[in-house]
């Protein structure tokens, strides 16, 4: 009984290590293929459109409402200390440092990371990936490199938008509805938020972009077992990428701030 449990645990640890190792290897191989010409810019642009442009809506929506809700909540707490004017800067700090990158990455994981896993998974089970190999086109270079590069570029850009609309939402609720003084609202943002907050958030976002695309591609690329396998790969990709994003956020924060 006890031994059985231990064995299961051991197997789980080995399995996770193996997965981590394989993802790392896929990353290194993607780097190796990415630096080797020819470069397919149109594929990267296509993926940038898919990952970035088509995610604008969800990112704007989550960003705005996060900013608005936080403002509403903070306002009632801060009023107890007559610190309403600090609401804006608190929301701005939270958005730029954490919520902007993390929430938009989670949204993009759900939208694009899952799609990557599903698309590559389908290509795997219908032998389209084999067909690429056969036509002397390396699928890592053709399929994975553009997705990873596009995600690394687009995640920070989406995060800029999320940060911005978050603060705009906060301004709207705080100033227009709750009646915080507009001048002090902006002045405190100006005083307490620094450029490094924004840029560190964007670096995080780039790392999250790498994580979500790499895991989405990895799960799709290694799909086994027909339509069911594709479904499983998609779910696993979203779960694993979300967890990895949240955990790595902790370590990135520890390293940066």
């Amino acid at each position: 009984m006890v031994l059985g449990g231990l064995e299961k645990l051991g197997r789980l640890v080995l399995y996770s290590l193996e997965e981590a190792g394989k993802i790392m290897m896929l990353f290194l191989s993607a780097v190796a293929w990415a630096v080797r010409p020819p470069w397919r810019f149109h594929l990267i642009i296509k993926q940038m459109e898919f990952v970035g442009v088509k995610s604008i809506f969800v990112v704007v929506l989550t960003g705005t409402f996060t900013g608005m809700v936080m403002t509403l909540q903070l306002f009632h707490g801060f009023r107890l200390f007559s610190a309403e004017s600090l609401v804006g800067s608190t929301v701005a700090l939270a958005m730029t440092r954490e919520l902007g990158p993390v929430l938009s990455s989670l949204m993009v994981t759900a939208r694009a990371g899952s799609a990557m896993a599903a698309e590559l998974g389908t290509m795997r089970v219908t032998e389209q990936i084999d067909a690429l190999y056969v036509m002397a086109t390396n699928p890592v270079k053709y399929l994975i490199v553009p997705r990873v590069i596009a995600s690394i570029i687009m995640m920070p850009i989406l995060t800029v938008v999320a940060d911005f609309v978050g603060v705009v939402g906060s301004y709207f609720v705080g100033v227009s509805i709750l009646g915080i003084n507009a001048g002090t609202f902006m002045k405190n943002i100006n005083k307490l938020v620094v450029l490094d907050d924004i840029f560190n958030g964007l670096i995080k976002a780039a790392v999250f972009g790498l994580i979500l695309s790499l895991i989405g591609c990895y799960k799709g690329f290694n799909t086994r077992g027909g339509a069911e396998g594709v479904g499983r790969a998609t779910t696993e990709a979203v779960v694993l990428a979300s967890i990895t994003i949240l955990v790595s956020d902790y370590f990135l924060t520890a390293l940066m701030f």
């Binding site: 193996e18 442009v53 701030f257």
Partner: protein, 468 residues
């Protein structure tokens, strides 16, 4: 309906985001002239406690610059201010460090001068510095006063406080009462006697007066050198000797304190002191290290470019003391473990290599370290081998060279690599694997490792970062 191409959509989106980013970066801190415009002015404060880089510089409450840097100069704080280019400071301005409110930030307040013709140039200095007459000094004064008060009250408390104090006071009071009562009775009984005593005292004091006058005369005589003692004290030679002795004594102490002479050197020389403390620290370190039994857990992945293979290493490194270690680990090699087998088809024998891909390869090595160089030996990837390592930059950089798999039918497996620490636990590496291979296995590789010490793991799991 017109539709945009992917390129146009992406381009448009990126452009909009960049504009937003530009706008945001102007709305947050460090904007305006933080981009290194304006000129520099130096000031020296006795104390710059609480003043930060980038703190505000104000005249009459209007920001005219920021603090560029704070450093130490001759035991005082040298504060360099960056002043907006359109602000001119008169030669006789004065600067002071002040605080916004009680808990507010520190800033530098500049009081305008009166000479309206001469101004401080770039790189110039503000001569007049006001001592902080603000909350800080008040607080420190307060602290002194309260300290005194506390000292007094605490000694009072020691006397009065507590049961012992109380009872002794009560005792004293009773004694006093009794004393006065008995004095009273004594006085009442011996009225006449007392009068006598008083009379006696009177005459005694008169006599005393006479004695004093005589004493005075003796002293005067001494001063003039009369009598033996007087002569001794007045003697010139003796006096000189005495003063010489005193001055040489002074010399010695001076020498000691200025660091001359062996003893003085020992006491005063900074280097000696540093040596001493260094060697103490060294001993300390050694003792500490000797006590340390460290374990490292590491994962290392390598991607071999030419053979498009990936290898993973999972190692435990046990280090009972700083110059000795054991290394245990498993390696996954997609090429697998090699065996040779012969096939015979139509009378022709073909020797075919077979690779068992399921199994792990093993590492079990023992190593010894001599300063910056370490040698290792034992089982490498399930064959015998030796390795050499060189450490530099506080062990941040590691160069290693391994040789193993000395089988007869092919060349030994040689591997050289360099590994550099980029973050606390993360290392990047690169090198050349199997570089004299005659099997086509030679390949450059890039790798990444994660290495934890057992303590690090604890640290990572328990310390929550506190954002500033």
């Amino acid at each position: 309906m017109f539709s945009l191409s992917s390129e146009a959509k992406v381009g448009l989106f990126v452009l909009v985001a960049l504009i937003i980013l530009g706008y945001m970066s102007f709305q947050v801190g460090q904007h305006g002239f933080s981009f290194k415009r304006g000129y520099l002015v130096e000031t020296v404060f006795d104390n710059a406690t609480g003043l930060d880089k980038d703190a505000s510089v104000q005249i009459a409450g209007v920001e005219v610059g920021r603090v560029e840097s704070i450093s130490l100069k001759n035991g005082k704080a040298l504060v360099v201010l960056r002043i907006k280019p359109d602000i001119q400071l008169e030669k006789d301005v004065s600067a002071a460090i002040r605080t916004h409110g009680i808990l507010g930030d520190k800033y530098v307040e500049i009081t305008p001068g009166t000479i309206k013709t001469a101004f401080i140039p770039d790189g110039g200095a503000i001569e007049q510095v006001n001592r902080p007459a603000d909350i800080d000094r008040m607080l420190s004064q307060f602290a002194l006063i309260t300290e005194d008060i506390r000292a007094v009250t605490s000694s009072l408390r020691n006397v009065l406080g507590g049961e012992a104090g109380e009872s002794s006071i009560r005792e004293i009071l009773t004694n006093m009462r009794e004393l006065t009562r008995s004095i009273n009775t004594v006085v009442a009984r011996n009225d006449d006697k007392i009068a006598d005593v008083v009379e006696n005292l009177k005459s005694a004091s008169k006599e005393m007066e006479g004695t004093f006058i005589a004493l005075n005369q003796v002293a005067q005589g001494l001063k003039k050198g009369e009598g033996t003692l007087g002569q001794l004290l007045r003697d010139k030679e003796t006096g000189e000797k005495l003063s010489k002795t005193i001055s040489s004594l002074q010399d010695v102490t001076e020498k000691i304190s200025t660091g001359k002479g062996t003893f003085g050197k020992l006491v005063n020389d900074e280097e000696t002191a540093k040596n001493l403390s260094d060697s103490l620290a060294g001993i300390n370190r050694y003792v500490n290290k000797a006590e340390q039994y460290r374990t490292y857990l590491s994962y290392h992945g390598e991607y071999l470019f030419d053979t498009s293979n990936a290898k993973s290493y999972l190692d435990v490194r046990i280090q009972p003391n700083p110059d000795k270690f054991y290394l245990l680990g498993v390696v996954t090699d997609p090429r697998g473990r090699r065996t040779l087998r012969d096939y015979t088809t139509g009378g022709v024998t073909t020797r075919v290599e077979e690779y068992d891909k399921s199994g792990f390869l093993f590492n079990a090595q023992i190593g010894k370290r001599f300063k910056d160089i370490a040698i290792r030996g034992g089982i490498m990837e399930s064959t015998g081998g030796v390795g050499l390592e060189y450490f530099a930059f506080n062990d941040k950089l590691r160069l290693s060279f391994d040789a193993f798999d000395f089988s007869s039918d092919r060349r030994a497996h040689l591997k050289g690599m360099a590994e550099f620490q980029i973050f606390k636990y993360i290392y990047l590496s690169g090198g050349w694997d199997d570089f004299i291979s005659n099997q086509g296995n030679s390949s450059p590789f890039a790798g990444i490792s994660i290495r934890f010490e057992d303590d690090d793991l604890k640290y990572l799991m328990t310390t929550t970062p506190i954002p500033k």
